[in-house]
Chain length 144, copies 2
Amino acid sequence: MEHDEAIAGLREAFQTIGKRFTSQRRRIWELFAAHPAGLTISEAAEGVRDGGIGHTTVYRTVKELTELGYLQWVHDRDGEHRYIAGRGGHSHPLVCRGCGRVLLIDCQGMSTLHKLIAVQTGFIVDGHHLEVFGTCPDCQARRG
Amino acid sequence: MEHDEAIAGLREAFQTIGKRFTSQRRRIWELFAAHPAGLTISEAAEGVRDGGIGHTTVYRTVKELTELGYLQWVHDRDGEHRYIAGRGGHSHPLVCRGCGRVLLIDCQGMSTLHKLIAVQTGFIVDGHHLEVFGTCPDCQARRG
DNA sequence: TTCTTGTTGTAAAAAATTTTCGATAAGTTT
DNA sequence: AAACTTATCGAAAATTTTTTACAACAAGAA
């Protein structure tokens, strides 16, 4: 299963950096995984409050998961950070403006872009952040 | 002059949306224009405090300038928003990890990327946000 | 079990952002 | 210029967001 693989990967990732994969960390990640449109930190804190998880833990965990590559942020219309679950590695969010759903896509052709920019500017390019916006097939159908 | 043109453009832009181009708005924009590495909102507020401009005004003005396309944000290492001066229109920040300097570049090849993604995902793609990171020529030289 | 160390939640503190409102300044009309 | 109208401003207060401190707790090792 998709989900169990991610959990196993997470456990290993935390172990690697000498940290424990606690039930809180697990539940917080699962909350994000259950929301394809992502959550802000305060929404996430709200979402696990009933479970007795404090907001301090949410802040800490979101930071850790982000560093491990298991969460990445996108911007909603207000420029606010919204975190979405991924499975490590480098990919880019394709955000639907209609329903907010996020599809992670990989970056073909970006290394070409790096080289192009390097030649034109003299910079040594070593990274990028890309978000793509549009309308998903479902929302297209819904509107005719 | 570069600077005067921008000021003239700004005056016109504010007029167009029925707002006044006050000395505060001007000074705030000029502060950003004088900092190629950009400023956070609190840095900007700090920078104009001696001039008697309150932080409330800075918040309001940064929002306006951003909507007008005369400021755009990038992320520093902490994921914090840093605003940099531009001259309207769509461009992408190339950020030096060494000195923080930002070069605005235009987006060649991105419409091709849009089409590619559209074909692969079924999304109608209509926009993107791209930040590129690297090391500028000066910082390369400085390190040998 | 005992020891050691990382993790958690609560409460408090600090920082960032927004709201409210009377005073002021800019642009218009007379 | 004077009177008028309206956007804008800054200070203070309120709210929200994020961080810090610390005692209790939980997990793994010996």
